[in-house]
C-alpha cells in the first residue's frame, strides 16, 4: 500500500533567539527559509551547492552550509545567523576586528567567514594560524582578503584591545550583513595608521 508522501511541513525553529513557526515545502533549504521567509538576508547565497561557504550559519553552534540543509531538518533546532551576533548596536568582537583590519572588502563572504570564525573560537579559543586557515578553508573570498581575515580572527583570539571610543567605524555593511551608515565615520587608515603592523 502506498504511503502518502509528505511534501509540506510545519516546523518550529529558533533563529537568533527568536522562535519561528513556518510551513515549508520539503525541498526548501534552510538558506531560502532564512532569506525569503524570515527576511534575514545577511546570510548570502553564493554557489548554492556547498562549495563556497557564503551561506554558513551555526546550527546548534556548529557551522553548516545552509544551502545543503533542508528547512524541515531544522525543526526544533537553534540557528545563529550574522544578524544574531551584534548586541544591539554593539558589534561582536569578530565583527569589529573584521572591519578594523580591513577584512571586509565587498563584504559578501564576511557573514559566513565571521560565523565560521565564531564557531572556531568557541571550540578553540587559542588557535594557531594554521588552525584558523584550516577552519576557514570552506569560506571563499573572491576579493582575496584572506590575510586580513586571518589577522582579524587571531586578534580576537589574542583579545587585542581595540582602541576605545571608536564604536562603529565606517560602513559596517559586510560585518553586520546589512547596510548601515556608521557613526564616527572615518577612514580606517587615518585613524589607525599602524594597524597593519600589529
Amino acid at each position: 500500500m502506498r504511503e502518502k508522501v509528505l511534501r509540506s511541513h510545519l516546523i518550529q525553529v529558533t533563529v537568533n533567539g527568536e522562535i519561528y513557526e513556518v510551513s515549508v515545502k520539503s525541498k526548501k533549504t534552510l538558506l531560502d527559509l532564512l532569506r525569503e521567509d524570515l527576511d534575514l538576508t545577511g546570510t548570502k547565497k553564493g554557489c548554492g551547492n556547498g562549495e563556497c561557504g557564503t551561506c554558513t550559519v551555526l546550527l546548534n553552534g556548529q557551522p553548516v552550509n545552509a544551502c545543503l540543509v533542508l528547512a524541515v531538518e531544522v525543526d526544533g533546532k537553534e540557528i545563529l545567523t550574522i544578524e544574531g551576533l551584534a548586541d544591539g548596536s554593539m558589534l561582536h568582537p569578530l565583527q569589529e576586528a573584521f572591519v578594523l583590519y580591513g577584512a571586509v572588502q565587498c563584504g559578501y563572504c564576511s557573514p559566513g567567514m565571521i560565523l565560521t570564525a565564531k564557531a572556531l573560537l568557541d571550540e578553540n579559543p587559542q588557535p594557531s594560524e594554521g588552525e584558523v586557515k584550516k577552519a576557514i578553508a570552506g569560506n571563499l573570498c573572491r576579493c582575496g582578503s584572506y590575510n586580513k581575515i586571518v589577522k582579524a580572527i587571531l586578534s580576537v583570539a589574542a583579545k587585542k584591545r581595540l582602541p576605545s571610543g571608536y564604536g562603529l567605524i565606517g560602513s559596517t555593511m559586510g560585518a553586520s550583513g546589512r547596510v548601515s551608515t556608521g557613526k564616527n565615520s572615518r577612514s580606517c587608515s587615518s585613524v589607525f595608521p599602524n594597524l597593519d603592523s600589529e
Binding site: R2, E3, V5, L6, R7, H9, K25, S26, K27, T29, G48, N49, G50, E51, G53, T56, L59, Q62, P63, V64, N65, C67, L68, V69, L70, V72, E73, T116, A119, K134, A135, I136, A137, G138, N139
Partner: protein, 289 residues
C-alpha cells in the same frame, strides 16, 4: 530543485519499511552533503527522502581492545576527525576525515554517506580497506556483514540492494595493524577531490624488522577504491627496508587503473600512486611505536 517528499524516521524498522516500499524512488538523507548536490544536479531524482538522523544508536564510535572498532553509519566526518580515540588508535581515519571537504561539510557529512556515495575518490574508503573493515547492512529480509573490499562495485555504485541500509562499519583488529596513515594528494589543501588518495597500514615485528601485516589501499586510482594486493605481498612477511618499500610502491602503481580527467592525467596518477604510496609507507613505518 524538483519537489520531493520528506519523512523523518525514528527507528531502523521504519527506515527499512519505507525503503522497501519506495525501493529506488527513495533517497536516504543523513548529512545531505552529497545527496542534495546530486538532486540539484539532476543525477538523482528521489520521490521521497528518508531522514535517518533520528534513529538512535547509529552515531556511536565504539571501541573494545578485543572486539575492535565499530563506527555507526551516522558518525559525522567531523567526529572522526576530532575523536581522541580515533586519532590515537586509527590515525589514518582521522587524517582522512580531516581532509574531506570543508569544516561545514564535515559537520554534516557522515561515514555511511561517504561510503554509500561510493566515489572512486571517497576519502573514508582507503584506510578502512587497509584495516579489513566490514559493512553491516540491514534489510527487510536479512541482515548481512560484507567486507568493504566487496562493497564497491563501480563508480558511484555499491552492492546495496533497494530496501537495504548500512548501519555500521566494523574493524576487528586481529591482525593488530598498529598504525595506519592516509595521504590525500590533491591540487588544493581543502575543498578538493583526491587526485590520488593512499592509505597504508603496517605492523612490524620490531625485533626482526619484519613486516608482519600490511595494507595498502588507493582512492581515485581506479573505478573503485581498491587494495594494492600485489604490492602488499611484496612486503608481507619480509624485512622492511627502503628498497622493499620502493619496490612495493612501484608494484602498486602498476596494479592501478587510473583515468585521465580534469584533475590529472592517468600517467600522472599512476606516477603519484608510486610516489605517495612510498611516502605513506614510510610515514606508517616511522609512526610505529
Amino acid at each position: 530543485m524538483k519537489d520531493f517528499g520528506y519523512q523523518k524516521v525514528l527507528t531502523l524498522k521504519d527506515a527499512v519499511y519505507l525503503l522497501d516500499q519506495y525501493q529506488e524512488r527513495a533517497g536516504i538523507l543523513a548529512g545531505g552533503t552529497d545527496l542534495l548536490v546530486k538532486i540539484r544536479g539532476h543525477i538523482l531524482n528521489p520521490d521521497l527522502l528518508i531522514d535517518i538522523k533520528g534513529i538512535t544508536g547509529l552515531d556511536e564510535i565504539r571501541y573494545d581492545p578485543a572486539a575492535g572498532l565499530s563506527l555507526g553509519t551516522l558518525v559525522s566526518i567531523r567526529a572522526l576527525e576530532t575523536s581522541t580515540l580515533i586519532k590515537e588508535k586509527y590515525r589514518g581515519i582521522s587524517l582522512a576525515a580531516g581532509s574531506l571537504g570543508s569544516l561545514q561539510a564535515r559537520t554534516r557529512a557522515t561515514l555511511g554517506g561517504n561510503l554509500c556515495n561510493a566515489s572512486p575518490a571517497a576519502d573514508m574508503a582507503p584506510c578502512l580497506l587497509t584495516l579489513g573493515a566490514r559493512v553491516k547492512i540491514v534489510g527487510k529480509k536479512e541482515d548481512r556483514l560484507v567486507p568493504l573490499e566487496e562493497f564497491f562495485i563501480g563508480p558511484g555504485k555499491t552492492l546495496l540492494r533497494p530496501g537495504e541500509i548500512v548501519t555500521a562499519i566494523e574493524v576487528s583488529n586481529p591482525l593488530a595493524l598498529t598504525t595506519c596513515v592516509y595521504i590525500k594528494h590533491s591540487i588544493r589543501k581543502a575543498m578538493d577531490l583526491a587526485i590520488v588518495g593512499v592509505a597504508a597500514a603496517l605492523s612490524v615485528d620490531s625485533a626482526k624488522g619484519k613486516c608482519e601485516e600490511v595494507g595498502i589501499a588507493l582512492g581515485a586510482a581506479g573505478p573503485i577504491p581498491l587494495r594494492a594486493k600485489k604490492a602488499e605481498s611484496r612486503l608481507r612477511g619480509q624485512k622492511l627496508s627502503k628498497i622493499s618499500i620502493a619496490e612495493a610502491s612501484r608494484i602498486a602503481s602498476e596494479e592501478v587503473q587510473p583515468i585521465s580527467d580534469v584533475r590529472a592525467s592517468a600517467n600522472y596518477r599512476r606516477e603519484m600512486v608510486r610516489v605517495i604510496t612510498e611516502r605513506a609507507l614510510h610515514q606508517a613505518w616511522g609512526a610505529l611505536p
